[in-house]
Amino acid sequence: MQGFKLAFNYLRIGIMNEFQYRANLYIQILQTFIALATGLIGLNLVFNQVTELGGWNKAELLAVMGVFTVTGGFIRAAIQPNMERLMDEIREGTLDYALTKPADAQLLVSVREFRLWQMVDVVTGVIVMIVALSQLDWFVDFWSVLGFFSALFLGAIMIYCFWLIITSTAFWFVRVNEIANLFEGLYAAGRWPVDIYPNWLRYGLTFLVPVAFAVTVPAQALTGRLTLQTWFGALALTVTLFIVARTVWKVGVKNYSGASA
């Protein structure tokens, strides 16, 4: 309960912070527009040659693109900025303040930053999804809606855990900022459903960097492909990743000695 209150307060602060930098909104709109345009052009180029890609038709792939944009926006709004701040604070020894607060330290370091303008991506992604669904004449039923939102939620948690594990290694290796760039590169692969990739890459994108669960699986739910088996797989992996992330974090904090003054 205190966790929600705290997250809400930080969210409020984060939003107020972002209002100070209005220019960022316009830059973000431009960026989203460019990303959307290149995405759509790519999709059209592909479908000029073929009618179907790995069993997905054009409207379905548009739905994948929608989910990709929504999740990517959320990661850049809420997950990545927190983790980058954490990396900096571990390196500079300023994590001290977070650790002397009477709140769960993991929760605290995970909710402190919020980049509101990245939500432009989320909104745009939702619009893309709606367009895709209207082309698919989607039948809205309770289970597919629940499947979609729960898959999206599990995917977000998995990506968060992945980031936290990587970031926590900063307790030992100190400099891990390059990981952020690496993630961007790997996440870009999620633009397409992972079924189209060779096996080794598909497994990598599923279990090492859970892009498959963050994008492909929710898109499966949207296009009526989600099986109960996959859903339970997602749940199991989420729980496992969460436990691993929490353990790595705890051991890391114990190991933390601060860049002593």
């Binding site: 307060n9 001290d96 009477p102 114990k254 002593s260 003054a261």
Partner: protein
């Protein structure tokens, strides 16, 4: 009265990689590392009673910050024990963290782009302070530190001193019982230092809080602390009254007087520290001070003669040199 802070034989040793300079040594370090043990804190013990303001002194690298970090739960001691308010700090129980605060003069926790008021609100949420209490305390502190005009400005637009005052308000909103202040006046001008000092004294008086303070500015220590603890190389050198420290370690007294002809050779009386116009300041061994002053009065036409204890900076310096000799 039972003590609020009690540490016994507290130690923190670090293993740090050690290598020689140069590329070859660096490459070797990739495969085989040799480690050296650094004893940042090496078995110190002391007790602090409720409401005490204690100055924690020592040169850079003496182990002051490491000790404060162990007391605030950030570092696990290598050995020995620490108990604060009957809690074990290293376990960082929330009930403990709610009653302490850590202020570090060189680090900020307020949000850079926002007015301090918004960051204060965040502290309220983190510490779960009831809104009424929060408002009362906040306004009281703002009043005491004369910050009314500044709380609505983004923190980045404040001067260093103003920012530090805000930091202190933010760090005390939950009315902690124990204050760990690590160089709270670092880099501030004299007026601002004084302001912060007065505020800490006032907070201590109003709420009966216990304060453990490190500072390089002896004025802070003289103004706030009756008792001082001096550490060096991680070991305790002195623990007691500031006055006793001065008494014990000050080998010299400062003798000042006005002389019509400052060109007179004064070397037979003691070391001349400075001559400013007709005003002469001399350093005289403590035990000879009375003899020297009477001779000065007899031999020369001196006026306005004063005898003062050596400045506290000099005293601390002599503590370190005396102990160093003893250790070698």
């Amino acid at each position: 009265m039972p003590s609020v802070i009690s540490i016994s034989k507290l130690a923190k040793h670090y293993q740090v990689p050690e290598r020689e300079a140069g590329l070859k040594a660096a490459a070797k370090g990739l495969f085989k590392r040799t480690y050296k043990t650094v004893k940042a804190v090496d078995g110190i013990s002391f007790e602090i009673q409720p409401g005490e303001v204690v100055g924690f002194l020592g040169p850079n690298g003496a182990g002051k910050t490491t000790t404060l970090k162990m007391l605030s739960g950030l570092l696990h001691p290598t050995s020995g024990g620490a108990s604060v308010l009957d809690y074990e700090p290293a376990k960082r129980p929330h009930d403990y963290l709610r009653q302490i605060t850590l202020v570090m003069g060189n680090r900020n926790q307020l949000s850079w782009d926002l007015p301090a008021l918004d960051s204060f609100d965040l502290q309220r949420a983190i510490y779960g302070i009831p809104t009424e209490d929060f408002k009362r305390t906040r306004d009281e502190f703002i009043e005491l530190l004369d910050l009314k005009e500044l709380v609505q400005k983004p923190v980045r637009n404040l001067s260093l001193g103003e920012r530090m005052k805000m930091e202190i308000v933010g760090a005390l909103l939950h009315k902690p019982k124990i204050l760990f202040l690590d160089e709270p006046t670092l880099g501030l001008d004299v007026t601002m230092q004084k302001r912060i000092r007065t505020f800490v004294a006032e907070y201590n008086k109003r709420y009966g809080a216990t304060v453990l303070l490190t500072s390089h500015y002896m004025a802070d220590v003289e103004a706030l602390c009756k008792r001082v603890i001096v550490i060096h190389h991680g070991q305790l050198l002195f623990d007691g009254d500031l006055a006793a420290l001065v008494e014990k370690f000050s080998a010299f007294k400062t003798v000042g007087f006005t002389l019509d002809n400052p060109a007179t050779d004064l070397s037979q009386y003691g070391d001349v520290v400075s001559i400013d116009g007709s005003r002469v300041t001399m350093r005289v061994p403590k035990e000879k001070a009375s003899a020297v002053t009477s001779r000065l009065l007899n031999d020369l036409a001196v006026d306005d003669l004063t005898v003062e204890a050596a400045p506290i900076e000099d005293v601390i310096e002599s503590v370190f040199s005396v102990k160093k000799e003893a250790m070698e």
